[in-house]
């Protein structure tokens, strides 16, 4: 094989010619790194090594560690918000509709542990990056809008109590669904014999039906 062709076949030259794919791959690897190590623990050199790129290239595309981290956050939120917007509530009874929404939220976070970890890390650094990220701040939160519709119906039907705010209901649901994933390790270590509900290798510190029950009890008259 002529030398020139051999060079074309090597992955690095493909990357140079396909920056979008390279960027996507760097974000994917960086997401895993930031999720498992947190902002302080991540080293750009390591991401460059895994993605077969260079520190210089990452700086060129993202401007530095902060820029890369912002993209990781954006990507994580975008993915979750898109999945949230896929929810189609079928029930017309407000209680059943809320049950569907809670179940969906529960499964969504359980299936997206990486997102949960990234949000945990970001919360631990006091949200300093999210608060500066205009893209994330402008993303609509589909679940809040769906909750607002369901809540309005529930009030009209006389089954939900007055005076709640959709964001508050959202926070309530998220608290439970998030905690189920975020605190699974410490609860697993402390109460391992008391947590009977396991789903494969995943510990469910709160079962889905109990979260539904708690939320409905909170919202119902």
């Amino acid at each position: 094989m002529p030398k020139a062709l051999e060079k074309l076949d090597c992955p690095k030259s493909i990357r140079v010619n396909n920056p979008e794919r390279t960027i996507a791959e760097i974000i994917k690897v960086a997401s895993q790194e930031f999720a498992s190590k947190g902002y302080a623990g991540v080293r750009i050199e390591q991401i460059a090594e895994i993605t077969l790129t260079s520190k210089r290239m990452i700086y060129y595309y993202f401007g530095g560690k902060d820029g890369l981290y912002q993209k990781v956050l954006e990507n994580a939120y975008k993915k979750i918000r898109t999945l949230e917007s896929n929810l189609i509530v079928r029930s017309t009874r407000p209680e059943d509709a809320l049950k569907e929404l809670v179940e969906y939220s529960y499964d969504l976070l359980q299936a997206n542990e990486e997102y949960v970890q990234i949000v945990m890390s970001e919360n631990l650094q006091k949200g300093q990056f999210v608060s500066q990220n205009a893209v994330i701040k402008e993303m609509a939160v589909p679940l809040v809008n769906i909750i607002a519709d369901i809540y309005r119906n529930g009030i009209r039907n006389g089954v939900f109590k007055f005076g709640l705010n959709p964001v508050e209901i959202h926070a309530f649901i998220q608290a439970m669904c998030f905690f189920n994933v975020s605190n699974q390790h410490t609860f697993g270590a402390i109460f391992n014999d008391k947590i009977a509900e396991k789903n494969g290798s995943k510990v469910q510190i709160l079962s889905k039906s109990r979260v539904v029950e708690l939320v409905l009890n909170f919202v119902k008259i």
């Binding site: 947190g38 631990l124 999210v130 309530f172 439970m176 998030f178 905690f179 402390i190 709160l206």
Partner: protein, 205 residues
């Protein structure tokens, strides 16, 4: 760990180390950042705690012991079970709200896969004692017919721990994403009342 009997010099190191570990986790924290916050040197930290790992374990122990010291001051045994339960949840809310570094270091420990807690017998016991206390309240309620029979203490415990912890840990996200400040006195009072109400509704027969 007996907080009251702690040497003030060691306590000062533990307080500073707690805030650094809560911010950066075990790996991200540097001993220099801790010595910068205290009057001590790296050498003294190693002398007292052996290693970074030893210091981290002492910090976790310290954080949980502070929680226990506060829990012990309440006597729930004579109250009406429903009122006691509400007080128990309110106590957790105030505790977490007043001690965000505790919530944060527990989250760090979760992000690390809980590698240190697994061997921390004393911490595990603190939590189990607390659960036993809650269990007594619920059993009393069941006996009196005011708490439904199928409620388990571990579920109730996780319900309010989750709600109270999330209220602290997600504070910044709610501010950034919804423009809502969860930490104003009014919002805190409302939230505490909602959580207690939800827990009581959950257990009532």
């Amino acid at each position: 760990m007996n907080i009251e009997a702690l040497d003030p010099f060691k306590r000062d190191i533990l307080e500073s180390a707690l805030s650094v570990f809560a911010n950066y986790g075990f790996k991200g924290a540097s001993i220099e950042a801790i010595t910068d916050k205290t009057q001590t040197s790296k050498r003294m930290i190693y002398y007292h705690f052996g290693s970074k790992e030893g210091l981290y374990q002492a910090v976790l122990d310290f954080a949980y012991s502070k929680v226990r010291a506060r829990n012990n001051k309440h006597d729930f045994s004579k109250e009406d079970p429903i009122e006691a339960l509400s007080a128990f949840a309110a106590n957790a809310f105030d505790l977490f709200n007043g001690f965000p570094d505790f919530v944060r270091i527990v989250l760090q420990e979760n992000l690390q896969g809980s590698m240190y807690l697994q061997s921390a017998e004393e911490i595990i016991q603190v939590n189990r004692d607390n659960l036993a206390l809650l269990n007594e309240i619920l059993e009393r309620g069941k006996h009196m017919g005011v708490v439904r029979q199928d409620v388990t203490s571990i579920n109730v415990y996780m319900n309010f721990t989750g709600l109270c912890s999330h209220n602290v840990s997600s504070r910044n996200a709610y501010k950034a994403l919804f423009g809502i400040d969860l930490s104003t006195p009014e919002n805190l009072a409302n939230r505490k009342a909602s959580i207690c109400d939800a827990i009581v509704r959950y257990v009532k027969a």
